[in-house]
Amino acid sequence: MARKLASDKVLFIALVALSLFGCVMIYSASAVSAGETSGNPYRYLIKQIAALALGGLAAFAVYRTDYRRFAKPWVVYGAYGLSLALAVFALFRPPINGARRWIPLGVTMLQPGELLKVALVLLLAHQLARKSEKAGDPERALLPAAFFSCLAAAVVVVQPDLGTAACYIVLCAVLLWLAGARARWFGFALLGLLPVLAALLLSADYRRARLLAFLHPEADPLGRGFQAAQSLIAVGAGGWFGNGLGGSRQKLFFLPFPHTDFIFAIVGEELGFVGAVALVACFGVVAWRGLRAARRAPDAFAAFLAAGATAMIVVQAAINLSVVLALMPTKGIPLPFVSYGGSSLIASWIAGGLILNVSQHEVVQREP
């Protein structure tokens, strides 16, 4: 019924392409400012390549391990518990750039919130598979899934990192829906979450300001709406083919942190509509092949694992690409595989490794 296949080469190539493309863009976006501040224009590129190597190793290890081993409760809860513990630990460290999001590790910093994304995918897949296969009712997983997701979200909201928290919730919702949860549950969840969201939005000045800037970007183009406005200008100025690799004007002063969350704006400016669409297409390939692996997966756990890992990548990408176009309020969500950031890159590659792992197995389906 199940047979072992070679892993999905198309998916692998897409992931590698995204990663290498990210390195090129990180260098282009950061060389000037890195050279100016640290004297080493390769500073961010070198760190990203190092993270890529680590991420590749992790992905390879994940890929070569029988995925059923990941279904063992001690792995599932261990991964989740460890990531969550690290995220809590970060809360008690002195803030960096106003947030308690990172744990310094010598030359680099660990962002537990990123690892928690993968751990949460694992945990949700485990829960959903168990409830739907053993108990026969996926909706029994509703409460535990919601509980673990909200717990993780609560921790990162305190950091504060509303973007990542939102990512957890969306991830949970997507998986629950895939598992077959009925629409009304999402309605109830939304009703429950709305007041929380409103309270969070109004409790922090910068969030309120960002929201207002999103609703009225013209009101204060150089204040809160600055990033959004400059990001739009960067993308828009790219035209069909962009002004060439390294030709971005915006990255110099106007777009803060162009190599992290707003890297896609630089892609749009330097490589134009053609480059932007090519990158969007890469994510399309990842989504297509990831969901293909999920559909063909031999068991529910593998299916939810592949679907969850795919969702983790695609949801983040969609949010990031929307933020760059000012279609969504500014959030701290990186573009997976592309944005600068070691934790995000490693987490993304682990997710990629999980999908590739699942893609090796296929159940021959008979049409009903």
């Binding site: 739907s132 077959g180 150089l222 993308v235 035209g239 004007r249 932007a276 969901l291 299916a303 176009l325």
Partner: protein, 631 residues
């Protein structure tokens, strides 16, 4: 198993839906990017083109200049400029008419400024009027609501508190020249003010401070909308000068209607207490952007107001040089103090007749009396004994022939002739008869007032030459920390006190004994010594030929004095161009300055100073007499 398969079917169905949903979402995103990059691409491209970070200089407040007691000489004042913002104007003609009417401006001038400004991009404001008064500023502000197109900007402008006073010591500011900008290593740009001449130039770095910078974000219209970064300016140091405003005032007042210079300094340190060059100019002209008429007036004035006569103009010293030669001859043992010369009013040397300024002659005079009465025949004879090369040695020892090193630019070196100089520089051999002229401070010998002051200070203070200076101290306006100038000296001839005493006694007698050439200028309550000089005119600059302009042939009047005689604390050198006799035209100011310095209790105003005109007839005679001596 069936149940599970059904579930798996359901999941598979939802995965298919998800694939479609993701495809749709990514397609929508692509469409969104197409809209932004292609449909509205030109719009964003133009925004990007206009996105600029502009560096705006923060000019550091320039340090004040004060006298030694802290009397402000130069400060900064706010200057108001009226600008027109074209973007805000609905009807330019109406705006111009309004402002012309409100401020009573010249309509033609305003219109031409607006025309000129039209060539600039629209966001560049057009300057309409500078240096508005407070009432004008208020009038514009009051109508600001109706006429938002007019705006007033404030900047700091240099204010010289006493118009032309000490102008040559202070200097002035002007916009940096292209040359200065090139040499400044990016410290100055077009439109930046920089010190020209005087201490404004000499201590430019100290006074100017270090400018800061704001990096501002300008929008696509070029307007400043936000500040990205800011580096504060370091204010300039306040500069305390050695000048004494009280003495300076006395000297300025005296020179109101005369041409010449005054140098008063402390012989112990070289601190310049007063420095006047007349005619002067108002340094404020330059900060108010000197008009063409004013500038031409300055340039074409034959008396050259921009020149600092105390250091830039060289003159024959006349009899003022005599004490130096007298001391030099005594110190070298060439003459005995009681060596006597009989003066019949004239004498013949090398087959040429030389006149004494006293036609009837002084009779038999020794060294002291020769100084006191300024007997020319005595010094002719002394000069013959010395010879030009020894005279050269003595005078260069007292610093003549080299710049004093005063902290002002463009100082001249003067000229002390010698046989070698005649042979190599002049190209005509030295005539012994020229030595006779040099012995009374005529001939090719040329000095500056500053050199005489320094030489006299060296003579009185043990032979080392104090470097004259205006820098007293600098003060950091934020911390109050002061930096004090330490007096500098150049090695000089070394002085034998008993021989100096004889010369000093002669100089005391000049002022304090009946028959002394400056007996009329005795100071009240304090003993002043000195030496008068009446120099034949040989032209303004290095030219040795007499000036051809007949109206400028009157002799120059000199007086070099010091006080108190027992312990000199001030040296005063007064020079009045074409002023006639030193005793009448120059000595009275020295007396007034000494009295002002030591506060005699008597009113500082001197007894009526004989007018230059009254002495004119006498002067003509002397000028004729002396001119005949020159070969």
């Amino acid at each position: 198993m069936l149940r599970i398969r059904e579930d798996r079917q359901a999941v598979a169905r939802r995965i298919e839906i998800a694939r479609v949903a993701v495809g749709a979402m990514l397609s929508l995103l692509a469409v969104a990017y197409w809209t932004v990059q292609i449909v509205r691409g030109d719009y964003y491209f133009s925004l990007s083109e206009n996105n600029r970070i502009r560096a705006v200089k923060i000019t550091a407040p320039r340090g004040y200049v004060l006298d030694r007691q802290g009397v402000p000489l130069v400060e900064n004042e706010p200057a108001y400029t009226l600008h027109l913002y074209r973007r805000e104007a609905k009807d330019l003609d109406a705006s111009v008419a309004f402002i012309v009417d409100l401020l009573g401006l010249n309509p033609e001038a305003v219109r031409s400024r607006v025309e000129r400004g039209r060539r600039d991009p629209e966001f560049v404001p057009i300057p309409i009027a500078e240096n508005l008064g407070i009432e004008e500023v208020a009038a514009v502000q009051a109508r600001a609501a109706e006429h938002p197109e007019f705006a007033i900007t404030v900047s700091q402008r240099r204010l010289y508190k006493h118009a032309g006073a000490a102008a040559h010591a202070l200097g002035y500011l002007s916009e940096a020249t292209p040359e200065q900008i090139k040499n400044s290593n990016n410290a100055y740009g077009v439109g930046d003010w920089i010190g020209q001449k005087g201490v404004e130039a000499a201590y430019e770095r100290l006074l100017a401070g270090v400018s800061g910078e704001r990096r501002v974000i300008v929008d696509s219209h070029g307007r400043e909308v936000a500040e990205e970064a800011r580096l504060e300016a370091t204010p300039g140091q306040n500069l305390f000068l050695t000048l004494d405003a009280k003495l300076q005032d006395v000297a300025e007042e005296y020179f109101k209607d005369k041409v010449g210079s005054v140098v008063a300094l402390d012989p112990r340190t070289g601190e310049i207490l007063a420095l006047v060059s007349s005619p002067s100019y108002d340094p404020n002209w330059f900060t108010r952007r000197v008009t063409a008429a004013e500038w031409n007036g300055l340039l074409e004035n034959p008396d050259r107001p921009l020149q600092n006569r105390a250091i830039q103009n060289m003159y024959s010293p006349g009899s003022v040089i005599k004490p130096f030669l007298a001391y030099g001859a005594l110190a070298r043992g060439l003459v005995d103090p009681e060596w006597r010369v009989f003066c019949p009013g004239h004498a013949t040397f090398y087959g040429r007749e030389f006149h004494c300024h006293k036609k009837g002659g002084h009779g038999s005079v020794n060294l002291r009396d020769a100084i006191k009465e300024s007997c020319d025949v005595y010094f002719y004879t002394l000069g013959q004994k010395l010879g030009v090369d020894r005279i050269h040695e003595i005078l260069t020892g007292f610093g003549f022939g080299t710049p004093t090193g005063v902290d002002l630019a463009f100082e001249k070196a003067g000229l002390v002739p010698s046989e070698e100089w005649a042979r190599t520089k002049r190209g005509a051999r030295w005539y012994p008869s020229e030595t006779i002229s040099v012995a009374i401070g005529q001939g090719p010998l040329l000095v500056t007032s500053m050199q005489i002051a320094r030489g006299l200070a060296a003579l009185l203070e043990g032979g080392r030459l104090p470097t004259p200076h205006l820098f007293y101290s600098s003060q950091d306006p934020r911390t109050g920390a002061q930096l004090r100038y330490k007096a500098e000296f150049v090695d000089g001839p070394g002085i034998a006190p008993e021989k100096l005493a004889i010369v000093k006694n002669g100089m005391w007698a000049v002022v304090n004994e009946p028959g002394g050439t400056a007996y009329g200028s005795r100071a009240q309550g304090i003993e002043m010594g000195g030496k008068t000089g009446t120099a034949q005119v040989v032209g303004h600059d290095t030219t040795i030929k007499a000036d051809a302009d007949k109206s400028r042939l009157d002799t120059h009047a000199w007086f070099a004095g010091f006080a108190p005689v027992s312990d000199p604390q001030i040296v005063v050198v007064v020079f009045v161009e074409n002023g006639g006799h030193g005793n009448l035209a120059a000595a009275p100011l020295a007396k007034a300055l000494v009295e002002a310095r030591f506060g005699t209790g008597a009113p500082a105003a001197a007894p009526p100073v004989p007018s230059v005109r009254a002495a004119a007839t006498d002067r003509q005679g002397v000028a004729r007499a002396t001119r005949r001596e020159t070969p």
